[in-house]
């Protein structure tokens, strides 16, 4: 193994351990910096000249869920007529002044708490100066040196069950810009200021991510946390969550390479594609004897490649300075504590609870908590109205496999599910009681999906109840054996034929016979 301690400070022995089998390495801890993180060979990019490690850091711009903009009373509603949600402040009319919207401050603090981050009781708004038609003030109000939220972390679940810790560098509040529309006029651009001044949280990660897959999982998890908190709806299609991705490559063990920033990637899929394309490009450049220039790039999803937007030399000098129109933002710990006391249960806590309370697998728990609505639905299935728990595993199976599968297939959201949690809970009860078999349960699910109704009544009315009357089952078995004497003989030599007999018996009983009972009785009768 080459995964030795690369900075010379780590213990030699740790590098030689198989990471997957060592419990201490199950959760990668990058708190001491990326240089100390163990190396995962699966994640290295192979090339003719050897292995490459990708190092990724992300800046996520998340639109704050609020009624009004960060510094004005104008609406943040999406989809209004162009320039219909614009105050004099958003349009930067002469003499207009920004006034902080406290709801946006609360949302930022709540998000910081959700990221287990340090909340700064004093932060400062700065002006970031540059000219662009969709930036009416000629500067963006942002937080440069003193952000409202400091260091925190996100625990990210990877598909293979691995969990990694991604450090959060900071979170700050800033204004969104307007939108330039270039297709409205032959020679001129139009500007829509509806977005101008809407509050964004810029969430900056440490360079702790090592693959496109990790990056995707990180954004997915961050989005989940934001949605749980209700601080950002995470709607990437509306641009309410955008990512700037910083990518560099290096030989394992070497210092960080020069990074390029890929701006404004607007879907999780594209984030993965952009990282892979950019890493390949950088490796190609280096392997051809070149070097990486620090620059800003754009991802072209059609061509699947990144292209240069502006170099370091062309980078703006933003002339940051504290905005003299705004006082430093200050609040005390009691204010933070009050917000903390009202936070909802977050995905990590919920996941842990699902594992212990409902005996779910880590995987199932992760799947269920990914969306709060899904988790709530599951809990409603898993808990009866009287507060008693149903079979959690069975509930999880039905929710994940049957319900989610069907919803996905039909492109429906959980809140548009035709089968309610109460109905699905009733179905799980019926299975648990032995009243219906798994097969019948699927039939019942179909009925519930298409026609609705009370599961218990449906079972009775439609005669779906499982036959557990041994006499009736025996009669059915005898009839099948009698009609198939030759096969019964063969079965003695070839016991696998029992499956055929089970099928025949189930068919003759309309699927209502208890399959286990059928199996046992058949073995006796056939002498297997």
């Amino acid at each position: 193994m080459r995964a030795a301690a690369r900075d010379g400070k780590g213990l030699k022995g740790i590098g030689g351990l198989d990471r997957k089998s060592h419990p201490a390495n199950k959760q990668r801890t990058n708190g001491a910096g990326p240089m100390n993180s163990p190396l995962d060979h699966k994640k290295l990019l192979k090339s003719a000249t050897g292995d490459w490690e990708i190092v990724i850091g992300m800046e996520i711009h998340a639109q704050v869920t609020s009624q009004a903009k960060l510094f004005s009373g104008a609406s943040t509603a999406f989809g209004g007529e162009p320039n219909s949600h614009v105050s004099f402040i958003d349009a930067a009319m002469p003499g207009m002044l920004p006034v902080i919207n406290e709801e946006c401050v609360r949302q930022a603090i709540r998000t910081g708490l959700g990221l287990k981050a340090k909340i700064n009781h004093r932060s400062v708004f700065d002006r970031k100066n540059y000219f662009y038609p969709d930036l009416p003030q000629g500067y963006q109000i942002s937080q440069y040196k003193s952000p409202i939220v400091g260091e925190g972390e996100v625990i990210v679940d990877l598909p293979e069950g691995e969990r990694i810790r991604v450090g959060i560098e900071r979170l700050h509040l800033e204004q969104d810009a307007g939108k330039s529309l270039h297709d409205q006029h032959a020679t001129m651009s139009h500007v829509d200021l509806n977005r101008s001044g809407v509050a964004l949280m810029e969430i900056v990660s440490k360079p702790d991510l090592r693959s496109a897959e990790e990056a995707r999982a990180y954004v997915t998890k961050l989005r989940t946390i934001l949605r749980y908190l209700g601080t950002c709806d995470g709607d990437m299609e509306k641009g309410n969550l955008r990512a700037d991705v910083n990518v560099s490559v290096r030989r394992p063990g070497e210092p960080l390479g020069t990074r390029c920033e890929i701006k404004n990637v607007n879907s999780i899929r594209f984030i993965g594609q952009a990282i892979e394309a950019e890493a390949r490009r950088q490796i190609g450049v280096i392997e051809d004897g070149g070097s990486i220039e620090q620059e800003t790039r754009l991802f072209d999803p059609v061509k699947g490649e990144t292209r240069a937007m502006r170099s370091k030399e062309e980078a703006h000098d933003y002339r940051y300075f504290p905005d003299p129109d705004l006082l430093p933002l200050e609040f005390d710990q009691a204010y933070v504590d009050e917000l903390a006391s009202q936070l909802p249960e977050l995905p990590d806590a919920k996941r842990a609870r699902f594992i212990t309370e409902y005996a779910l697998s880590a995987y199932d728990a992760s799947v269920l908590v990914a969306e709060r609505a899904n988790a709530d639905y599951f809990e409603a299935v898993a808990k009866r109205d009287d507060g008693k728990s149903r079979d959690g595993k069975a509930a999880a199976n039905w929710v994940i496999n049957e319900l989610f599968g069907r919803l996905n297939k039909e492109g429906r959201a959980i809140d548009a599910s035709p089968v309610s949690a109460a109905q699905l809970g009733g179905l799980v009860d019926l299975i648990g009681e032995g009243a219906i078999s798994g097969k019948i349960a699927k039939e019942l699910f179909e009925i519930l999906w298409n026609e609705g109704g009370d599961p218990r009544e449906l079972v009775e009315k439609r005669g779906l109840r499982q036959v557990t009357d041994m006499g009736a089952i025996e009669a059915a078995i005898d009839a099948v054996i009698a009609a198939n004497q030759d096969k019964a003989e063969q079965a003695k030599a070839k016991p696998t034929l029992i499956g055929w007999f089970v099928g025949q018996v189930m068919k003759s009983t309309g699927g209502k016979a208890n399959p286990q009972a059928v199996n046992e009785l058949l073995r006796q009768k056939l002498g297997i």
Binding site: M93, P94, G95, L97, P136, D317, R319, F321
Partner: protein
């Protein structure tokens, strides 16, 4: 009716209340004076119809006995205050015919209290200047004549200069940036005027024109709706002919405003009641650093006179030191342009005001800003962008901010030691001639603010009160600097000086 324009604001208020004349009569007298005084170029926009409409409402209210604090009193508004439906230019071509759809907090409070608007007053472009010569509307001519000039010569000079599109050289500047406000008040073209002060723009023109100018504590008046120059320094205040008039006007202008995060959430005192408090028992600081080499003897003498008058009224004079005074001006000329460079970025030709088309948007920006901004504004925008740029920020902007902290601390220490107010000259000289300094090094012009910028840098209140004249017969002012939000002591002490010096005899009308 010309005697009506000679009244002070307080006298006019009392006259209206006593029904010796009507608001309409008072306003008409002023409208007529304004129309006859166009040679001075004090007003850039006259709003007689609005004034008469407001006056007639005032008369109705007076008749019903429902007079508000400023009922029917005609005032002028510096063109830096946005006025709803009335063109607002900040003295700049870049705003073109910009007509706001909103009212500044300060002016809205004046109208709330019954004041009448005569029009918008000339000022330096974006309030950047100390002589009103940077205005896109041309310079304001001071009603004060240079020594040995008569009215005929002055009128002829202005007429000739106007025909030649040149500045009327030789005549005096009213100071700036609130030059229109000061000139209009001195020439009795309004009872009082709103003004703004970023580095001395109320106090210096007041001193140059023999009027009283009060720059309140930063945060006392809302900045909402006032075109911004340097946000951390800008503060609105009144210019009037008496200390009492300033106190009356400030009470209406001031007050907390939820639309300005930097406005102070403090109740507004009855400033007028403080005017007659006197100076008995007050400790007045005399800062040695304000004694500058080459300062005219008359100013030295005036300063000493001021001290004696206050002492005679029972105040105690104490020599103090404000050691960082010398750094205030250079620090100011970093902080103010830095903020201005950012504040003026919004004038880009995209949404309002002037637009000069170009091949692409960058060219449009460049063409618009090149045509729309004057020389001084461009100079300051460039200085400001420079001191904020990467690599220079620490050496200039950050250093200036640290200096600012030290200047503030100087004052905090003397106030903590028991000083109630600081007495200084308002300006290093009396008014100078139009064209005299505008063509010289900008530093010459900036030196005008040497006694006033400290007050803005420290966010303190300061008042300039006429105290006498120089050898050429031109007015000179003294400045009193107070504790934060203690404008009352300044009104009281300024009144002592005003009483002792005798009310300034303003120039007779020659401009009609």
């Amino acid at each position: 009716m010309t005697e009506l324009i000679e009244l002070s604001l307080a006298e006019a208020r009392d006259g209206l209340e006593a029904k010796r004349f009507s608001a309409s009569e008072l306003v008409r007298a002023h409208i007529s004076a304004v129309e006859r005084a166009r040679l001075l170029n004090a007003y850039v926009l006259e709003t007689p119809e609005k004034a008469l409409a407001q006056a007639s409402e005032s008369d109705a209210r007076l008749k019903r006995g429902e007079a508000r604090p400023l009922e029917g009193l005609p005032i002028g508004v510096k063109d830096l205050f946005c006025t709803k439906g009335v063109r607002t230019t900040a003295g700049s071509a870049i705003l073109g015919n910009f007509t706001p759809d909103y009212e500044s907090t300060v002016t809205s409070q004046l109208w709330r209290d019954g004041a009448v608007m005569l029009g918008k007053l000339n000022c330096d472009e974006f309030a950047m200047g100390s002589s009103n010569e940077t205005s896109a509307f041309g310079p304001v001519v001071s009603p004060w004549l240079p020594p040995n000039w008569d009215g005929a010569r002055a009128r002829a000079t202005i007429v000739k200069a106007t025909a030649e599109r040149a500045a009327p050289a030789g005549l005096l500047v009213p100071g700036g940036s609130s030059g229109g406000s000061a000139a209009a008040v001195a020439a009795r073209l309004c009872l009082a005027a709103t003004a703004t002060d970023t580095g001395g723009s109320i106090r210096q023109p007041a001193a140059f024109t023999g009027t009283v100018g009060m720059k309140p504590t930063y945060g006392r008046c809302s900045r909402f709706g006032t075109v911004a120059f340097a946000s951390s320094l800008d503060q609105a205040g009144p210019i009037a002919r008496t200390v009492r008039d300033c106190a009356i006007l400030l009470r209406s202008m001031a007050g907390p405003d939820p639309r300005d995060s930097t406005s102070a959430d403090l109740p507004v005192p009855d400033f007028e009641a403080a005017v007659t408090r006197g100076a008995k028992g007050l400790k007045i600081g005399i800062p040695k650093e304000y004694r500058m080499d080459g300062m005219p003897e008359e100013i030295e003498k005036l300063w000493a006179d001021g001290g004696r008058w206050l002492a005679a009224a029972g105040a105690e004079l104490i020599d103090i030191s404000l050691p960082h005074t010398a750094y205030a001006l250079p620090a100011y000329y970093i902080v103010a342009p830095a903020e201005a460079s950012s504040n003026l970025a919004r004038y880009d030709g995209v949404r309002y005001g002037l637009r000069v088309e170009g091949g692409d948007v960058i060219e449009m920006y460049e063409n618009t800003r090149a045509a729309g901004f004057g020389r001084e504004v461009k100079r300051r925008v460039m200085i400001g962008a420079y001191v904020l740029s990467a690599g220079y920020y620490d050496a200039y902007y950050l250093r200036a901010q640290k200096t600012r902290t030290l200047i503030k601390r100087d004052f905090e220490q003397v106030f903590a030691a028991g000083i109630d107010a600081v007495l200084t000259p308002a300006t290093p000289t009396a008014a100078f001639g139009i064209g005299e300094k505008a063509s010289a090094s900008p530093i010459e012009m900036y030196l005008n603010d040497v006694f006033t910028v400290t007050v803005n840098m420290a966010g303190l209140p300061g008042i300039s009160v006429p105290a006498g004249c120089d050898a050429k017969g031109l007015p000179l002012g003294l400045q009193l600097i107070g504790r934060p939000f203690d404008e009352e002591t300044l009104f009281a002490t300024a009144k002592v000086i005003e009483d002792a010096a005798g009310r300034m005899v303003l120039p007779k009308v020659w401009w009609e």
